[in-house]
Amino acid sequence: MRPPPAHLIYETGGHSEHCLSFGAVDAARTILIVPPLFDEMNRTRRMMVEAMRVLGEQGVRTLLPDLPGSNESLADMSDQTLLDWRNAVVDCASQLSATHIASIRGGCLIDDAAKLPLWRLAPAKGTSLLKTMLRTRVVADKEAGISTTVEQLLTAAQSAPLDLAGILFGQEMLAALDMALPSTETGIHEVMLADINGTPLWLRAEPSDNPAMSTAIAADLDCWSASCGG
């Protein structure tokens, strides 16, 4: 039987947040995975969890936190800012003893404050994530017979939270996301899809998984984390 997950808790921003974990608590290495953000998080969860299972079987512990306002969180999504999420990564890393950080897509926008060795997969610019969600909202409105433009949506967002892909965005989050770029310090191990024979599951209109890609991610993370920091 494959190892079951552990359900842990970390504290951030006055809330207790859920964190999925695989692997032994006394493992020499603990990799905190900073997931893709917003709708991309849902499309990649199975891929990430499968990689975590493989790493657990190889003796590497992993953590996958809920960011405040997402998944099981009781925090209000429309109150969240990118800074809150950056702090959440730091809190989770320190409270649950992470030794390394692996971030994917939009996760690369909030992964740098914990000051741990960094592994990144296909970093995304905040403005690209935002633009896709705004376009999707305009298309969805059109199909519902409502004519909206991106400008109208952003103007309306100044007075009330904006619903994009079923997620409520506050004004601060929208502004910060539009400007956000992955940090550029040296020593980051960046992996592109070709390195792991991967497919960009986060772009798909429907959620999917790819066990071969999860296994390749786990192998790369194992090799990198064994030789780097910790």
């Binding site: 690209s128 633009k131 896709t132 376009r135 999707t136 298309v139 991106v150 497919t199 798909r204 209109a205």
Partner: protein, 86 residues
């Protein structure tokens, strides 16, 4: 250059819509996309546009996007080429 753009579009369709490499390799100018591919719904169009911008380093004005753009593979490639040379 021209061939490079065409290949970028093929990769894009494969990556965003989850089409096989064989299926996108067999596409020619007359291959119908919107309406012919169940994977290409109006929601997927949003993802395709942003990825096209990132990979070709272009900016697409949403006013440029109409039903014709995604009608055939040839239309999509022609649009991308026009944008890159702008």
């Amino acid at each position: 250059m021209s061939e490079k753009i065409e290949n970028t579009i093929r990769d894009l369709l494969s990556d965003v819509l989850g089409l096989s490499k064989t299926q996108v390799a067999s596409m020619d100018n007359d291959t119908e996309l919107f309406g012919a591919l169940p994977e290409l719904d109006s929601m997927a169009v949003a993802g395709l546009l942003t990825e096209m911008e990132d990979r070709l380093d272009i900016v697409i004005d949403d006013d440029d996007v109409d039903g014709e753009l995604f009608a055939t593979f040839g239309n999509l490639v022609a649009f991308a080429k026009a944008k890159v040379t702008e």
